[in-house]
Symmetry: C2
Subunit: 333 residues, 2 copies
Amino acid sequence: MAELRRDPVVGRWVIVNTDDSLHPPDFEKEEHVFRQADVCQFCYGRERHTPPEVDVIRPSNTPANTAGWSVRVIPNKFPALRIEGELNKRGLGIFDISNGVGAHEVVIETPEHFKKFADLSEAEMLNVIKKYQSRFISLSGDRRFKYIMIFKNYGESAGASMEHAHSQIIALPMVPKYVLEELEGAQQYFNFRGRCIFCDIIYQEYQDQDRIITENTDFIAFCPFVPRFPFECWILPRKHTSQFGSLNEEEQHHLANLLREVLSRIKISLSDPSYNFYIHLAPVNQGNPGSYHWHIEIVPNLTRVAGFEWGTGFYIVRTAPHVAAKYLREAKI
Amino acid sequence: MAELRRDPVVGRWVIVNTDDSLHPPDFEKEEHVFRQADVCQFCYGRERHTPPEVDVIRPSNTPANTAGWSVRVIPNKFPALRIEGELNKRGLGIFDISNGVGAHEVVIETPEHFKKFADLSEAEMLNVIKKYQSRFISLSGDRRFKYIMIFKNYGESAGASMEHAHSQIIALPMVPKYVLEELEGAQQYFNFRGRCIFCDIIYQEYQDQDRIITENTDFIAFCPFVPRFPFECWILPRKHTSQFGSLNEEEQHHLANLLREVLSRIKISLSDPSYNFYIHLAPVNQGNPGSYHWHIEIVPNLTRVAGFEWGTGFYIVRTAPHVAAKYLREAKI
């Protein structure tokens, strides 16, 4: 039986299979083959083949752009947007255009070519989170940028073109549509109820219990009641905050641990599927939207998006989130 | 060089490569292998294995649910939504839910298992358009439904699970998000300017010329200035109308011809890619949104959608629409 569910933040309806869910063995498996090791520019010793690093964690006795680093951030060699120039917004007949100004960076998460992100150690994952934060703070300093999007594509079917573990950061000169919708939904709810909608969702998750995957002092992970994809997972700070830049050392630790744990649970439950994750943060350089609550959304790539979804924005989700959460909770990690 | 472009209807920004576009040979090719012919329930002689037909074009001397038909419409055996029951909208804590009431039908476009939709004859394509229209009218008669979505998935990577040529119709008890956004955008523009925004887009296309693919008396096809995907194509009625149900015989003809021509041009230019198309129609059973202008959007499946797109609603389009239109216009059909 299918149930129609409405996302309380953005108003999107989805169709969820509530009692004949697809289970992990029902999804096609994807093999992750390593083919690029011999020529990989993200490996030790090939640092000179990439643009010079803009941020890095490395021992102080190693020179920039040489081996020895643990996490390395470089500009993307084929950027979607260019760092130089002014925005120059203008009309063109009925249309609005602007120069493609922005930043596009790559976070190389480990020097080890064959190591998967979900298999990083606690210390390695912490380093990645630290670099997400330091790049966020640094890019926010450029007044041309209004939004910093941190995201990861793992696996070919999820859009990764390089197999060496990496994530990406794109700084945009405008707030993207989906984030704008969440901001507006959160603000409307706040105006109406005087509370954060994401805090209320967390409260509801604690009431219902069956969609929670795991938690620690600072963060909670659950399968949202209104997902777009089967086995979609969200990670939120348990206490209300719109600020990512001010995470302290302990919170960074807790975030790294929870992200690592959820990705391991996904890897084990679903036989190492391709996935995307992205961090929904508040915009930068245009005041603090205090009603927002930043979070991470993880979407395993298990099904194909087709005409119905592209045409409607409705999604057909064939695994109920409480079923997905049970698998993830019970995975032996 | 990349350019940021804003969709004038829904406000979505996209990043378009304007002078280093990807060309047809740059996209991965997909083979379409026929594997299901021996067991295909959409073929002649296997009519009894599908749910009974709800609409059909067949000679009057052939009994229902036997061979002899040219286009056949059946309920989907595995429907996303069920036809029985009432909507029963209700709250569940912070969430809104409703029963999964709707209709899900399959239009079998030809009895020939090995015939591709783009290769239908003019007469066959006309029959399909006629059935789209008659099902739209029939399903609109059910007051529980607010939206009728007609769409097609061609090819495995575009989500087709049956290889025999077919499209699908889903009747929904609420207007989907993307359509709502278009309706609101069109209404706001109408309030502001007293004109239809889609008519103004068509006017702009005639001014600019270089994104037009083809046209006839009643319809125009072009690659939109702000696409989500490379080689995205739109087909619109040239004269303003929000009404799909009232297409006359001549207009049906012209629509069938143009759809057939555009799909042939896509097939030839891009080596028969998988694609989706969907028809954006006005909602039903809730007044006539006169400011809307119905249309078809065709999206070839050439690239992978990844974390950036899922997280932002921004799209990175690596073929400029005027470049795509030139290939499509010049294809030898």
